[in-house]
């Protein structure tokens, strides 16, 4: 973790929270993101790395307000974008940064990119969104799970039995037909992810395949991050890092 942000310094935080790796898994709903995050977490833990996983809209600060706003559908696009940014800021400062400073790996199930894409397709300019999130730390790795809209559609229906109002972008009034709106909305998001892929150095992984194939590709991207910092394998006289009991037992 370099501790550098995309441009805006964060007041009141250590400039360089060295330690753990920040790994981001991005992708649309149905791209297999959540499955991959849990597989990767498991694998990293088996390797001996402490992992803290984080996602969007899980902060204790404003998640209630976000839920309320979504139910009422009353807040404007800029207001929603800022509310999400506040929520992200809270997670970054109160969860991600402390975990990284403590040397843990932070595995983020989506990051600023999804938030930016959503804001932009709702009318925010790319430049505004990019600068708004300028306070975010630059991850060590961003994996983008790239799946075709047809695949996303089948997985969404398979998972929920229907299409979600927000994941279909119904608030944008692209179409009154949920099915059609889903395709139009996903295409717009994909266009934003395309632009960001270059700007933010995404590593694309073909997510139209089986979970184990996706996982193998992701591991191949993650592994080099730990080449220099893997836990010690062996030490003279027993398992590394364990302190053998002394004192009473020794005398008896």
């Amino acid at each position: 973790m370099t501790g550098r942000t995309y441009g805006t310094p964060l007041p009141g935080l250590p400039a360089e929270p060295r330690g753990g790796q920040l790994i981001v898994i991005e992708g649309a709903d149905g791209s297999g993101r959540t499955t991959e995050v849990s597989r990767l977490k498991e694998w990293l833990e088996v390797q001996g790395h402490a992992v803290v996983d984080t996602g969007l809209r899980r902060s204790t600060l404003v998640s209630e307000e976000i839920d309320r706003a979504k139910q009422g559908h009353t807040l404007g696009a800029t207001t929603m974008a800022l509310l999400y940014a506040a929520d992200f800021g809270d997670q970054l400062e109160n969860k991600i940064v402390p975990a990284l400073s403590a040397g843990s790996t932070v595995l983020a199930d989506r990051y600023i990119y999804t938030l930016m894409a959503r804001a932009i397709v709702r009318g925010a300019s790319r430049d505004w969104a990019r600068r708004l999130y300028g306070f975010a730390f630059i991850p060590d790795l961003v994996v983008f799970l790239d799946a075709r809209p047809e695949i996303l559609l089948h997985r969404a229906i398979g998972k929920y039995g229907s299409l979600d109002y927000w994941e279909s972008g119904m608030d944008l009034s692209l179409s009154r037909d949920l099915f059609e709106s889903f395709f139009l909305y996903q295409a717009r998001l994909a266009a934003e992810f395309d632009w960001m892929a270059t700007e933010y150095s995404f590593h694309r992984v073909d997510a139209n395949r089986r979970p184990d194939q996706v996982d193998a590709d992701v591991r191949a991207l993650v592994e080099p991050l730990y080449r220099r910092s893997s836990p010690r394998r062996s030490g003279a006289g027993g398992p590394a890092g364990l302190i053998r009991p002394r004192g009473r037992d020794a005398s008896g």
């Binding site: 441009g7 805006t8 310094p9 964060l10 007041p11 009141g12 935080l13 204790t60 600060l61 404003v62 307000e65 807040l75 404007g76 800029t78 207001t79 800022l82 509310l83 940014a85 506040a86 800021g89 809270d90 400062e93 109160n94 505004w128 600068r131 708004l132 300028g134 306070f135």
Partner: protein, 233 residues
């Protein structure tokens, strides 16, 4: 009478008059008096103020209790609140051709966030959706005067107003003076960079109001009153 209207920078048919300054600078009193006078002149007036809404105050209360708020989240929550107010209270009347009298605007955030250490360029970008007002009155007042006014009216000093979250001092009055001093220095800087109309707030209320009225008259020259709107179309 010339009916030629100088086109405002924001491009909307209404007019945007902004009142800025420290708490206790008398800006709210002056904004209310000016709005009353404008209405009496026959203009369609809409008055709005920016103080914490339920959305922000409940969140801030919770955040404070848990010690979670940082300058960045504090700034973003206020921006959220302002965006909501802008969408509901400022933009519609501005588009409908009202004179919108705003007690506090984006400058309040520029000043407060800068005093908390946020990057000023970042804050400006966030608020870039808020158009430049037709006039911004800055009610300039020494910090000591605002503190005396507060003590005289027995108002309690609010935690954030005193900048207690910054740890400048353990004493509320001392912290208040230091924090408000920072705000004042920022306002003084913005007064120049953002071409504000500086009002000496230590003068009598009537004198200040007369100055404000003289100042807005030319901005409203040719601006339609209710009377003309009702009978023209």
């Amino acid at each position: 009478m010339s009916a030629e209207l100088a086109s405002p920078a924001h491009g909307y048919p209404g007019r945007l008059f902004v009142f800025e300054g420290l708490d206790g600078s008398g800006k709210s009193t002056q904004a209310a008096l000016l709005a009353k006078w404008l209405a009496a002149q026959g203009y369609r007036v809409f008055q709005t103020e920016w103080n914490s809404s339920e959305l922000v105050s409940s969140t801030i209360r919770r955040g404070k209790k848990k010690g979670l708020l940082t300058p960045t989240t504090f700034s973003l929550l206020h921006a959220t609140d302002f965006a909501d107010r802008f969408d509901r209270k400022i933009l519609p009347p501005l588009r409908a051709g009202y004179v919108v009298v705003c007690d506090r605007y984006s400058f309040t955030a520029f000043v407060r966030d800068a005093a908390r250490g946020c990057d000023p360029g970042w804050v400006r970008t966030i608020y870039s959706f808020a158009p430049t007002p037709d006039v911004t009155f800055y009610f300039r007042v020494p910090v000591r005067v605002t503190l005396q006014r507060k003590i005289a009216s027995r108002l309690k000093i609010n935690y954030y107003e005193a900048g207690m979250d910054l740890g400048l001092s353990d004493d509320v009055h001392d912290s208040y003076e230091r924090f408000q001093g920072r705000l004042k220095r920022e306002y003084d800087r913005l007064a120049v960079s953002d071409r504000m109309t500086v009002v000496d707030s230590t003068r009598p209320v009537e004198r200040i109001q007369a100055v404000l009225r003289d100042h807005v008259r030319p901005i409203l020259s040719g601006f339609p009153t209710m009377e003309t709107l009702m009978h023209d179309g």
